[in-house]
Symmetry: C2
C-alpha cells in the first residue's frame, strides 16, 4: 500500500492529531510533513487540495481535514 | 486494541470519509455508527465531544472531526 501523507504546521492541534493518526494507521504507513518548516512542500499540499492543517491525504488522493489548526493562508503568513 | 468509533449521519461527506477511514485503519478496528438512524446514540457521541459529523473517536477518547458534513444541531433537526 502506498503511504498517506500527513501535513501539519507544528500547532498543538496538529501534534495531537499526528499522534492519533500514527497510532491508528501505523508510522510505516504515513509520511509526516511539517509544512511550516518544509515550506517547499506547501504548494504540493495545496495542489492536493489541502485547505487547512492538520490534513491527511490518503493513498487514493482524498483529503481528510482533521479538526482545525491553521488555514493554509496562516501557514504561508 | 479497542475499537475506534466513526459517527456519521449518512451525508455524502460522511460516506466518503467512512470509506477512507475503513481503508486506512481496517474494518475490524472501527465501529461505524449512523446517528441519523440510530438516534439513541446521539447523546453518547455528544458526551465524547463530537461537535459535527463525520467524526472518529479514537480508543484513547480523542475526537477527530474529519472534514465537515453536518453539525450535531443539524443531525438533531
Amino acid at each position: 500500500m502506498s503511504k498517506s501523507v500527513f501535513y501539519h504546521a507544528g500547532c498543538p492541534v496538529c501534534v495531537s492529531a499526528e499522534h492519533d493518526i500514527v497510532n491508528l494507521i501505523g508510522a510505516n504507513n504515513v509520511e509526516v510533513v511539517h509544512i511550516g518548516e518544509n515550506r517547499s512542500r506547501i504548494a504540493e499540499a495545496e495542489g492536493k487540495g489541502v485547505k487547512s492543517v492538520p490534513a491527511l491525504v490518503t493513498p487514493a488522493g482524498h483529503v481528510l481535514h482533521i479538526n482545525f489548526g491553521a488555514s493554509m493562508a496562516d501557514v504561508k503568513g
